[in-house]
């Protein structure tokens, strides 16, 4: 059987599963078997995702194999027409067009399809453990799995879509699921507020994206990738309009990927269950914006528009740089473990935006080789970040879940003796890192996974994100040197500083959670015991550590220029080359570039030494007596203890300062937006409602009462007296005669 016939099943199967789970959940709610074996629909969801994963792998392996054999072509499959319509073109001709649905798989979507299907499956498995063992979720997990699987369908559909409109359609479906899942605990006012905020904020971006798509249709007469990416079509079009289109689409990407200034929804989105945060708000949906920007590459690379869009590319890099630095700064002061990760996500996505901005700038300037490198590095970072951040969120979920469990046990235990104690514990926050500490020995798998994930995000050499982050930082600094790239110094500096900041806040999170002694009795009672949760953690730790292999295989290069790059045979030599490139800045000519060498080591120094050092000095600490962590992390914990003892300093001046307060209040963005809503939009809407009621309807009511008054007045004339009537008749006749005479 041909794979292309089955490819359509990848988005369709989950869509079909969604109403099925909902219906079964409705029918069997509360049934013991439904809760046990069927996991309230979780089993169905995971089974579907497993099938989808196998199908995806089949497609991906086929695609990659075709490329390595050199006979490869992008996989395109037309499914059918959706609507046919007619339009007048500018010269007055009538054009009949059709808009169809189809699937497309090329090097970008192959990578993203793997990320999506792999993570959806793993997080589905994680949810079996996380959701079904929490009594809060009992009897409503089917709703979770139904929304979850619909989201997966949206993600797969978006990745496989062969036109921008279908991309947008699935993009919106994901937005809906994000809204529903953030508001999963609908009874909490904070969740309801966060859900609304997420939907509205992304909607603002989406509307601009939508207008961009309208322009795209006006320019190219189509949304199909095959048409709009055609260099001759791009050459024939009005460059000004294309620029407007790219800017509008970028606003859409900014909204979806939570970049400055539309970033406010992402931290609040952590109100959703942790698997949702892991899947939607870290690993998949927020990548949609990046995917969209990556998809814009052909618009920049067309020879006819060379040099036209450099300012757009620079803007993308700027927004990336600003967000990276801002989010990292806010992450400094967050105590909620999920909030730290949320800001970290923002910051890392911003890195990728910066890298993509550099790539688009290079290609528009004509530096094809540099562009391919930056592009590959950016998408490789997307890959690494998705794996690491998905894992980090699941690990944080594991911590929160066990904290909950321990808290519950403790509260229950205390209940027998002391009611007051129970009441006091009601406000216990299981996500607050100041309540944790010393978990390294109690939750070994989680601690190791989180260490690996953090290392990948920080960019510790040889682990995960290191390979890609170096490429992004290097690319932006290279852009500075090129002709006309002087302004790139701003994003370049910002991402460089952010590297150090990342080192600090990620280490801070890890040490606050896992090192030192337990800060509360709850943390002291934590055990790693929930089933299913370790599976994805182990798998993703492996994936993160395997990034070195991907780097050695030439993954980034393969994505970047779509040529025959992936090959197992050259692994050792490629790996050597990558290492030389990463550490010694050895270019393809075999010489080391001193400028890049310097940048590389500054980055490594900041992220690996400076950041973690301060984090250890402030938040490190040895474990309590008798506790022993796994060998792979015990050295880290004891190192942090030593550094803390030796170099600890009082940072209360900083933590009480205005800057720290501003950061804690997220730089007041939320206040500003709320004020904008409350002080401008709402009064305006109320004024409109008033105007409608009093003025427009008032006029109608005026006519009504006026005519009533008039009829009352006329009624006065019917006096019933014959004398009056004769008088009126006489007057009428007279008037009639006058009229006739006048006319004659």
């Amino acid at each position: 059987m041909d794979v292309s016939e089955l490819a359509i099943l990848i988005p369709v199967l989950p869509i079909v599963a969604m109403p099925l789970i909902l219906l079964l959940g409705r029918l069997f709610n509360g049934n013991e078997k439904w809760k046990g074996l069927w996991k309230e629909g979780g089993t169905i969801a995971v089974a579907v995702l497993a099938i989808v994963f196998v199908l995806s792998m089949w497609l991906i392996v086929g695609h990659v194999a075709a490329f390595t054999e050199g006979s490869g072509d992008d996989f395109v499959s037309d499914v059918g027409d959706w609507v046919t319509y007619s339009l007048f073109t500018e010269n007055g001709d009538m054009k009949v067009q059709d808009f169809g649905f189809g699937l497309q798989l090329d090097h970008i979507s192959v990578m993203l399809l793997f990320v999506a299907s792999f993570l959806c499956l793993l997080i589905g498995i994680f949810s079996l453990g996380y959701m079904n063992t929490d009594p809060v979720n009992e009897n409503r997990n089917h709703r979770f799995y139904a929304e979850f699987i619909l989201f997966c369908a949206g993600m797969f559909g978006m990745v496989l879509a062969d036109s921008f409109l279908w991309l947008f359609i699935f993009w919106e479906i994901m937005g809906l699921c994000s809204y529903l899942l953030i508001g999963f605990y609908y009874e909490r006012p904070s969740a309801a507020y966060a859900a609304k905020k997420a939907f509205l904020t992304t909607r603002v971006g989406d509307v601009f994206l939508f207008v961009g798509l309208l322009i795209m249709h006006a320019v190219f007469g189509s949304w199909d990738f095959a048409v709009v990416f055609d260099a001759s079509n791009i050459g024939a079009a009005d460059a000004g309009l294309i620029k407007a289109m790219l800017l509008l689409m970028f606003i859409g990407a900014v909204g979806k990927s939570a970049q400055f200034p539309l970033h406010v929804w992402l931290p609040d989105a952590m109100e959703g269950p942790t698997p949702v945060s892991a899947l939607i708000h870290a690993a998949t949906m927020v990548n949609a914006g990046l995917y969209l920007v990556a998809r814009m590459y052909p618009f920049f690379s067309a020879p006819a528009v060379a040099g036209e869009f450099t300012d757009v590319a620079l803007l993308i890099a700027m927004i990336g740089g600003i967000t990276a630095c801002m989010a990292a700064a806010i992450a400094f002061v967050q105590d909620d473990i999920k909030k730290v990760l949320a800001y970290s996500t923002m910051s890392q996505l911003a890195y990728i935006f910066t890298g993509l901005g550099a790539a688009l700038w290079f290609v528009n300037k004509g530096y094809t080789e540099l562009a391919a490198f930056a592009f590959g590095a950016s998408l490789f970072h997307l890959f690494n970040h998705a794996m690491a951040k998905g894992m980090l969120f699941m690990a944080s979920g594991s911590v929160i879940h066990e904290m909950h469990h321990a808290h519950h046990e403790l509260a229950h235990h205390g209940d027998d003796h002391d009611d007051h104690d129970d009441h006091g514990e009601d406000h216990f926050d299981c996500q607050d890192m100041t309540n944790m500490g010393g978990l390294a020995s109690k939750m070994p798998i989680t601690a190791i996974a989180m260490a690996a994930g953090s290392a990948s995000i920080i960019g510790i050499p040889l682990i995960g994100g290191f390979w890609s982050k170096e490429g992004i930082v290097g690319s932006t600094w290279k852009a500075v040197l090129q002709d006309g790239g002087g302004l790139f110094i701003i994003p370049a500096l910002l991402v460089l500083i952010t590297a150090g900041m990342t080192g600090f806040y990620m280490s801070r999170m890890w040490f606050m959670t896992f090192a030192g002694k337990p800060k509360t009795p709850v943390a002291a009672g934590v055990h790693e015991q929930t089933p299913f949760i370790p599976i994805p953690l182990v798998a993703l730790t492996g994936m993160t550590l395997a990034a070195i292999l991907f780097a050695g295989l030439g993954f980034a290069g393969w994505i970047g220029d779509n040529a025959n790059h992936l090959s197992l045979g050259h692994l050792p030599s490629h790996l050597m080359h990558e290492i030389m490139h990463a550490f010694l800045a050895v270019g393809s000519d075999g010489h080391s570039d001193p400028y890049l060498f310097m940048i590389t080591w500054i980055t490594i120094g900041l992220s690996m030494l400076v950041g973690p050092f301060y984090a250890m000095a402030l938040h490190g600490g040895s474990l309590a007596k008798g506790e022993k962590a796994h060998w792979s992390i015990s050295w880290l914990v004891s190192l942090s203890g030593k550094i803390r003892r030796k170099y600890n300093f009082d940072n209360s001046a900083w933590s009480d300062s205005g800057i720290s307060n501003a950061l804690k209040r997220r730089l007041y963005f939320d206040e500003w937006y709320d004020n904008l809503m409350l002080k401008l939009v709402v009064p305006f809407a109320l004024a409109a409602a008033w105007f409608d009621k009093r003025i427009i309807d008032g006029a109608i009511k005026g006519i009504e009462s006026g005519s009533q008054e008039a009829s009352k007045g006329i009624r006065q004339l019917t006096t019933g007296s014959a004398r009056d009537y004769i008088m009126m008749a006489a007057l009428g006749t007279l008037a009639l005669f006058l009229l006739i005479w006048g006319l004659i």
Binding site: L87, E172, G183, V207, V211, A689, D697
Partner: protein
């Protein structure tokens, strides 16, 4: 024992009545083609089964029920309701069969302008040139189908309405009148049915409405009736502007003139295609403006919309569902059928004014929505806002824009009844419509919460639900004509999302710990919706998904109707005026 027996007796009696009616109706339907088959073998599926049948049927049912002595009328409720539903389902079967070509084997996507299917003309008032003329094309068929879909669904959703022996036949009568409007090809007949639709709606509001139902019913009636007087004036003017034809005088028409839309359209067509302005441009403009005024009151467009929120808030659920779902479409349908077809030059001239009115309706309507605290009022204003999109599609003067506008009519026709059905259940179970007076509907009435979420999402234009296709089509066409002005409707999408999400946050969500219930509930405990409401909502949700995922089912005929307006070889009228632009 005796009680059971008497109950059984009552049931048997009810059953007999229903069975007899259904059997009679079926036999009648099966037999009638034999009487009305004309030479070509083309059966008139419209006159008897779709117009006479529901109107007469409803009268018979009303008569039957009112024969019962006082206090016993409720006993007739079930048979009357069942028979009403049965009648409307019959009609649905016929219209669906027509759509799929099971009867008549009609290709809906290949109809020229001023060509009609199931085109039947009977002499009515010959001396004045009035005939009973019915026919369907790519514009009227979707509206007919919409009517036949929405009426039975409305009956199901409001199954438990009080005095339903009276309520459901009114809906059936409504169906006959609405179908009459959509199939009429004679101006006189069109006007008669146009006004006839007011009567059942007037009584629906008056009898089952809210506190101010008297005021609302009168306002609704007088407002729209005044507007249609302008339409009547335009129709009569149009009638007398014709030159008396000897042919008609010979046929016994005293005035020698006709009310036939087909004749008028072909005159307009001939004039336009030979480069002339039919009736002269100033007369065309005057008639165009009169008709547009009459139709945008019904649409409704700002500033002639204020009857709508009042009528909706006071109307019962069924009234609102039919009013928003089908009656508003009469205005848009009229725009397409008369002024836009007869007066293409005036359309081209007033294009920008239509755009401005549409834009104001859309943007201002959405702003007003945001300022409402009454759920039903908000939904009513959202109708104003969405009907603005229809005007924008018309103003774009693009085939795609026309098709998008027609699709919007259809999509809004299946979405807005669901909005009002949800509002109705809300009012029914919580005795209030104030947003924010209760929290946590998802907890107390989960089904209602789900339907509310679904309908709200459909209305705010979520992809793969029916409204999205229309919005994309209209806005693509709009950009081609007006360029950057498209930012206004696009930003309105954000406002739309804002008022819908805001109202959901304050009703479905929240309610942690203690669920907040409105004071109006008194000691009642909150309930979920009834099985009948459930069925109605599920049907509407299925339709919304169906036409959102597979829009081509109905898009094809709309698109080809729109093309026919523009294509020379399909008899287009707008080729010359719009094509040159």
């Amino acid at each position: 024992m005796s009680e059971t027996r008497s109950r059984k007796a009552v049931f048997e009696k009810e059953f007999t009545v229903v069975a007899t009616l259904v059997v009679l109706a079926g036999a009648f339907l099966l037999a009638f083609p034999m009487f009305f088959e004309d030479a070509v073998g083309d059966i008139d599926w419209i006159t008897i089964p779709m117009i006479a049948f529901p109107i007469l049927g409803s009268l018979i049912l009303l008569a039957l029920a009112s024969q019962q002595p006082r206090g016993m009328k409720e006993r007739m409720a079930f048979p009357v309701k069942a028979a009403s539903l049965g009648f409307s389902l019959f009609i649905l079967v016929i219209s669906t069969a027509l759509f799929f070509g099971w009867i008549g084997s009609i290709d809906w996507t290949n109809i020229k302008l001023n060509e009609y299917r199931i085109d039947h003309e009977y002499t009515w008032i010959n001396s004045l040139g009035i005939s009973w003329h019915v026919g369907l094309d790519g514009l009227s068929f979707p509206m007919l189908w919409l009517t036949t879909l929405i009426i039975p669904i409305t009956m199901i959703s409001t199954w438990d309405e009080k005095s339903s022996w009276y309520h459901h036949p009114l809906l059936l009568m409504m169906e006959g009148a609405l179908i009459g409007v959509f199939v009429a090809l004679d101006l006189f007949m069109f006007y008669v049915f146009w006004e006839l639709t007011l009567i059942p709606m007037f009584f629906l509001i008056l009898k089952w409405g809210g506190k101010d139902r008297r005021y609302a019913a009168q306002k609704f009636f007088i407002y729209t009736f005044t507007a249609s007087l302008v339409l009547l004036l335009a129709i009569v003017t149009l009638y007398f502007l014709q030159n008396p034809s000897q042919y008609l005088i010979d046929k016994g028409v005293l005035t020698g003139r006709t009310f036939s839309m087909v004749e008028m359209t072909s005159s307009a067509q001939m004039a336009a295609n030979s480069g002339n302005t039919w009736l002269g441009s100033s007369m065309q403009n005057a008639l165009f403006l009169m008709m547009v005024l009459a139709f945008i009151v019904k649409l409704p467009a700002v500033p002639f919309h204020t009857w709508l929120p009042d009528a909706h808030v006071q109307a019962p659920t069924a009234g609102s569902m039919v009013l928003a779902g089908v009656m508003l479409k009469m205005g848009a349908y009229g725009l397409f059928r008369l002024p836009m077809t007869l007066f293409p030059h005036a359309l081209a001239e007033y294009q920008d004014w239509l755009m401005i009115i549409g834009m104001i309706s859309l943007v201002y309507g959405a702003m007003v929505c945001l300022g409402q605290i009454n759920l039903k009022r908000m939904v009513a204003y959202s109708s104003v806002s969405h009907m603005g999109i229809v005007l924008l599609g018309i103003a774009s003067m693009q085939p795609l824009g026309f098709a998008g506008a027609i699709f919007m009519m259809f999509a809004h026709g299946i979405i807005s009844p669901m909005l009002f059905a949800v509002c109705g259940s809300f009012k029914h179970h919580y005795h209030t419509l104030e947003i924010g007076s209760l929290r946590g509907v998802a907890k107390t009435s989960p089904y209602m919460g789900v339907y509310m979420m679904f309908a709200w999402m459909a209305s705010l234009g979520l992809p793969l639900l029916a409204g999205f296709v229309a919005e994309v089509a209209v806005l693509v066409a709009f950009w081609m004509e007006y360029g950057w002005l498209v930012l206004l409707p696009a930003l309105t999408l954000v406002i739309t999302a804002a008022y819908y999400l805001w109202s959901m946050q304050r009703t479905i969500f929240e309610g942690d710990g203690e669920v907040v219930l409105p004071d109006t509930m008194g000691d009642d405990s909150p309930r979920d919706i009834s099985p009948w409401e459930n069925v109605g909502n599920i049907l509407m949700a299925l339709l919304i998904v169906l036409f959102g995922v597979l829009p081509w089912i109905i898009w094809g005929m709309m698109s080809s109707y729109a093309d026919a307006h523009f294509y020379q070889h399909m008899g287009g009228l707008l080729r010359l005026v719009a094509g040159g632009a």
